[in-house]
Subunit: 541 residues, 2 copies
């Protein structure tokens, strides 16, 4: 029970040899049943000693709508549902991911060194706001020169407008994006063009609407508090069921959706004091899957702790993750470009910190951080450049501004070019945020489409309160308004106009150089010399 | 600022070269002053960038009563006070621990292998309930055959009756026990007799009464919850000041009080996700002090995580603690002796688990624990026997029973002898609990003497509620009643009576054999063979 199977998903409904197995983890329930909606059938389930309820049946076919009935009372969708065709509150739909016929046999994942990420939000990337829409842009992206698309989270959320971090069904692909099939099609199409696919997954919290997990079992613990309330339970009583839930999830993306890398959201909020940290167990399981399939898969963490334990190899006692984001490069770069040193930027001194980021990855690797009010960080001397992802913008750094301005709205044209260059000559893995390559002028705002009116109002108020001290700039746009979402869409027609055409040529040229010049492909920081001149605001690599 | 000085305490009032330095950590105060009560003087203090307020003066002599005045308003005792002659709510008293003239020059700490612990509670060990009282019993203890006394916590608590875990001045020795001087005298007397001294210290919480820490600075964080509420702040903003506070404390006991080992209370409740865990930093600092003084000091943890990271060496990424308690040995032993498998005993199966404890130290080293509802523990193959402390009773296991019964009240005489033998032939460090060697018949009850009436009532109610399901056995004794404390005192006169005389002879004989027989002194578990017979309830080493 402890180990998730690497060969197949076991949670939810799975198909094998002409029959279906239904499996639900709900260790503290007295009774659980499976409701098949089209047949109006009720299947009884039996619980094993670990709290997994199971039945096997030939009655369940892919496409069947189903729910669990808990203690003979409430009907709930499946926490491990692969499809929520009518959103988070309605029945789940059985789905067999193995029925997709892959055309990517010849695809080989890229070496991590060759990743050039392009972060995109499915809903606002194209007019369609779907995976199918993305497919139409793949030739463009290939020509641009990036090597991997990174999808912001696609787990089912309420409504049709969300960044993705409010997902409540980690196994179900957002219905309005095109669902599981749409994602498989997208990945297949990427691989056919030689593009890798990175998926952003959220294992540190659940969204505020449509989260029924508490009714199934102790998914949360009050041992730890997080910005989202009680922490997901990775080390308290019953934690094995929760750990398995997320490990099965990660394995599914690699195995059944051919995802090449996972971007693990804010792993510092995965609170786990077990002897084996959840992330380490995850890496061990992914290693086994790699053995089995013969394909490499990468785990990339968003983490703000400047602690190499996350990316240290398993044999050195680390969690073994392949790479991590470094926001500090971004902060130092922004301050060098003129960003006012307020908020978390207060810790950054501009060009000298940018030089440090080029040289040492972590800017704070043991110094006192005035913003954090503590000594902060460890040295990252042993870690090669391919373990760090850098960027001059991303969804968070843009969207967490009240008005969601991209660099195009904040910096002169030449400075924008410099920012692009700073990222693309770095000895790290570069990442672009969709549209920056043509200096998109639309903002990327914070938007939601909660169906719970009270929650929507709370989010609206929260957003206004957060930015209350910026009142001189007006009021924070309403996250719930459809216009806020529409304003955040990319304007592809800008590519035909100046100065956007020029910017796009600049990015293409930089990306080409990045791939062509051995000095730029080389991510060995030991062979890098960095010098800077504070007075003249110059930096030499 | 980050590193505590290993050479001297810096917090509170310290004396050097004819003058005194007063130092207070209070990073968020606007103003802090030092009040000297006998002189009715007010000394202004200056704050450095780390939040330490300081002044140097010739006005302050040892013995001076003083307080801090915070923001010109409240007067508070010193969180780093060495003496609270009138308890936790009244002014502190300056004290120079270096003025004690030690007579233990020739004392050399014992090898850890040779430790045989005798846990005692100063207040109930003797009729006097003081350190001076203990000194009168040292010859007896030496003759008994133990090699180290382990004092339950002595940090200042409210009133005169407390186990010690409600201490609120980690640097101040309980006034009613004899204060700092009394403790120095006791340690000196122990060392003159060749006995080591272990001190129980509490770095995981503060007592509920007389804790003014919050008024000084962010000593607590709401990132983590503990059984005592908010956790002490070891990794949140401003944590460096808190870490230093406790590290200075540990160093003080070794350096200024010649303590030989610290027993660190419930370290699993020290919540710290920093790159360098507080315990690891503590060990590094103690190592430096050992370099400086040329004396060995030990750190022994109470920890219930079955995770070797606490006792793994620093160079293997562990926290480097010298040893840890293993309650599981106790639980397995008790169930083997007939204890009903309820509560946390439910995880233990008797003789086969006792055999496992002898062989593997941790009974749960990866198996599913029904009581904890999760897979639990790591293997402890690499750890030598000297890293584990075992016992058949201790203050917790006795005192956390509603009626505080010792083994003498629970098991037949012959079984008590067997329990003693089981501990003393183990390949681990044995510990006795005061009085068990003569089968003391008095209980060791839970007692407090809070001066806050509401709190006393809350504790009383809490205790009754905790044991509500034992109502058949009567009501839980009132922790606040002086009689509860008096009933818990040892009855030394029993030593002259049977069957107590016989038991005492038995313990002495066992202890003598333990020290004499090479096979029993050898703590190498690789040379140990354990076999057991479930049916016949026998176990062979």
């Amino acid at each position: 029970m402890k180990q998730a199977s690497i060969r197949q998903r076991t949670l939810g409904i799975t198909f094998s040899k002409g029959e279906a197995t239904a499996c639900l983890w709900a260790p503290q329930l007295e009774k659980a049943e499976l409701l098949l909606h089209s047949q109006q059938a009720v299947l009884p389930l039996e619980k094993d000693k670990w709290g997994y309820w199971r039945t096997t049946s030939k009655k369940i076919a892919p496409g069947e709508r189903y729910s669990w009935r808990l203690n003979g009372e409430r009907e709930r969708p499946d926490p491990a549902s692969l499809s929520q065709p009518e959103g988070p509150h309605q029945p789940s739909q059985a789905l067999d991911p193995a029925s997709w016929r892959w055309s990517d046999r010849s695809w080989q994942n890229l070496p991590l060194e060759d990743y050039i990420f392009y972060e995109l939000h499915t809903g606002t990337f194209t007019p369609e706001g779907t995976f199918a829409g993305i497919i139409q842009k793949l030739d463009y992206l290939k020509e641009l020169g990036i090597t991997a698309i990174e999808l912001m989270p696609v787990a089912q959320f309420p409504g049709e407008r969300n960044w993705g971090y409010d997902g409540v069904y980690p196994f179900a692909v957002q219905n309005s994006y095109g669902g599981a099939r749409g994602l498989q099609q997208l990945v297949d199409a990427c691989h056919q063009r030689g593009l890798a696919v990175v998926l952003d997954v959220v294992y540190n919290h659940m969204g505020p609407e449509g989260n029924y997990l508490n009714e199934f079992g102790p998914y949360f613990t009050d041992k730890y508090n997080t910005p989202w309330g009680k922490a997901l339970n990775f080390d308290d009583a019953w934690c094995d069921g929760v750990r398995r839930y997320f490990i099965e999830n990660a394995l599914m993306w690699f195995r059944d959706f051919h995802i090449d890398a996972l971007r693990l959201d804010a792993v510092h909020a995965i609170k786990d004091f077990s002897p084996t940290h959840f992330l380490r167990e995850l890496k061990q399981q992914v290693n086994e899957l790699m053995q089995e399939t013969g394909r490499p898969y990468y785990l990339i963490a968003e983490v703000d702790l400047n602690d190499t334990r996350f990316i240290d190899p398993l044999e050195k006692g680390g969690y073994g993750l392949d790479a991590q984001w470094i926001d500090e490069f971004h902060h130092a770069l922004r301050v060098s470009a003129g960003q006012e040193p307020t908020g978390y930027y207060a810790d950054f001194a501009g060009i000298e910190h940018l030089a440090k980021a080029y040289q040492d990855a972590y800017v704070y690797d043991g110094q006192y951080s005035p913003h954090r009010h503590k000594f902060f960080g460890t040295r990252a001397e042993q870690q090669p450049g391919r373990q760090f992802v850098v960027f001059s913008q991303n969804h968070d750094q843009v969207g967490n501004r009240m008005l969601g301005e991209r660099s195009s709205q904040l910096y002169p044209f030449e400075m924008q070019k410099l920012l692009a260059g700073a990222v693309l000559v770095s000895p790290y893995l570069p990442m672009l945020f969709m549209g920056e390559e043509w200096a998109e002028t639309n903002p990327f705002l914070y938007f939601v489409s909660h169906t719970d009116a009270e929650l929507a109002e709370a989010v609206r108020k929260g957003r206004r309160a957060e930015f209350a001290h910026f009142h001189a700039q007006g009021e924070a746009p309403d996250p719930q308004a459809e216009t806020t979402f529409e304003q955040s869409r990319l304007q592809w027609q800008l590519q035909q106009q100046e100065p956007h055409q020029t910017m796009l040529r600049w990015y293409k040229a930089l990306l080409e150089q990045r791939k062509k010049q051995p000095a730029l492909r080389q991510l060995n920081r030991r062979q890098l010399e960095v010098s800077h001149n504070q007075k003249r605001q110059t930096l030499q690599l």
